[in-house]
Amino acid sequence: MPTKDANAEPSFRTMIQVDMEIASFLSNWAHCDYISSYLARTISHNRPDSVLFSNLFSSALNELLEVTFRTRHSGGALECRLSRHGETDRIELTFACGQEERTFLEDAVARVQGVDRQARYLSSLSGDVAPSRDMMLLELTVNYNATLRLEEVDADTVTIVVDLGGLAN
C-alpha cells in the first residue's frame, strides 16, 4: 500500500475540509447526506454546470461516506478533504481502522480496478439482496468513472482517495 505523501501532487488545491469525531459521525446516518449535500454545493459554484455537477458529486461523495459509515472504526476522527486540479475533483477520506478492515479496503480497491468490473456490477444488481461495500465502491468506477486508491497514513489510519474527472461533461 502506498504511503501518503503530501508533496507528491502539489497541483491539487484543497478547497474545503470537514473534520469530525468518528463517534459523532456515526451517531446519525443522516450525516452522510448532510455532509455530501453541503460540500457538493459548496464546491460546485465555479463548475460550468453547477447544479448538475453538485447533484452528481453529492451522489458519489454520499456513497463513499456511507461506505465509511459502515466500516468498523477504532475511534479517532474522520477527515473529509476535497481538492481540485483542473477538471479533476479529489475526495480524500481519512479515518482510523483495524487491520481486518484495512485488508478489506485494500482488497476492495484492488478489485474495482479489474477489467470485469462492469459485469460484476451487473451481477451484483441482479443477484444480491443488498449492495455490499465492494459494490458501492465498484459503482463509483462504473457510473462515475472514478479512480480509487488507498493510502496508509500511519499504522492505524488510512485514506481512501477518489478522483472524479469531468463529472458533468
Binding site: N62, E63, P131
Partner: protein, 396 residues
Amino acid sequence: MTAHLSPTGTVGRFKAHFDLNNQEFSIAGSVRPQTIDELAPSLALLKESIDNVRGVLYINVRRLAQMNNTAFHAFSRVIIDACRVRPELRFVVITSSVVGWTTRKFGRLSKIEPSISVEEYDSEFYPGQSFLEEGGFIPILRTQTKMTWRHERSILPRHGMRPGIVMADICCGIGDFAVLAQKEFEPARIVALDHSKSSLAYARKVASEFDITGIEYTYGDASEMLLDDDQFDLVTCRHSLQIFNRPAQILKELYRICKPGGRVYITNEKNSHCLGEPRAESIRWTYNEVAKLFEHFDMDVELGPKSRRYLADAGFDDIRVESFMVTNLDGDPKDFADMISAWEDVYAGDMAVKRGDSEEFIKQFRQGFKDHISAALHPKGYAGWPIWAASGQKPL
C-alpha cells in the same frame, strides 16, 4: 396511491406514487436510507403497482434527484424479479437528462433484462421551443435583449433587483440578460438556467471570452428544477412563460425556488399589439395572425397582460405590473428592423409552413412584417413592440 417515507432522518425527503390510469409508478426527491427496511412502504407500492398493470409499467424517475445504492438495489431487484415472473410485462423508466445520473444508471438494468427500457423525457416537453432556440436566432436574441435592456434597467429596481442579492435567471437563453444584470446591479450570485444546450454553450463561450465570472450557467428543465426551495431573492424569467404550453407549472417552480419575501419577475408580450405607422392595418393583421400561429403550437404570445392573474393564481402578494414599448426610436432603427426580419424568417418561413398554411396566406403574412420594417426605417415612421413586466412577492 402514495407512500411517504418516515419523517425522521433523510428518508422522509421523497415520495412514491402510483397512478393506475397512466400505469405509472413515480418516485421523486432524495432517497438515501440506511437499510431497505426504511423503504418497505415504497417497495410494497411498487410491487402492488406491478400487480395492477398489464402490458407496460412506466417508472417515472424524472424528479428523482438522489438515490443511494441501497435504495437503487432494492428497487432494481423488485423490477428485475418481476421481469422474470412476468415476461410479458415491459418496464419503461422515464428519466430526465437534467438529473445527470438516472439515464445511465437505470440504463444498466436493460443489460440485465431486455424488457426494461429507458426513455429521456425532456426532449419532447417543449413543442415549440425548437423554432426559437437553435442556430441562427442567436444574433437576434442579442439584439432583442439590447433593446429591452434600455427599459428594463430602470424597471428592475422596482421589482426587487439590487446589489448583493442572490438571483436566478430561469430560461436564460444565451445568457446576455444575466451578464447585463451582473454588470449593472452586481448581485452576489447569479444562477442562469436554460434547457437549450446550444444556448448555454454560447453563453459559456461569451463568459469565457469576456472573462465574466460569478454567473453559473446551468442546464435544467424550468418545469422541474433541481434547485432547492427558498433560495433566491429574485427570480427572473423573461419572454418564456409565453412559449411554454404549461406556464402555470413553470411559475409554480419559480415560486418554489424564490425565498419568502423575495420576488419573481416575468416579462411577456402581447404580440397582437405590435404596431406601426404607416401601413398600420397590414401590420395589425399580421400580428393578430402571429398570435393565432403560436396558439396553434400551444404557446400564448398574448400572455403579457395576463401576468397579474398568473402571479395571483400562483400565490404571490404585492403584484406589480407595468408595460413598456420597444420602438424604432430606441437606438438604431436598423436593430428594430433586423429583429422583425428575423421574426419573419421564423414565423412565416418555418412555423407557418409547418402549420401547412397556403402560399397566399404566407405572402400576406410576410407583408405585415415587411410593412413593420418599413415603418421602422421610414424617416417619419414609428414601429413598436409592447412588453409587460410584472413581479410578485412570495409571502413571508
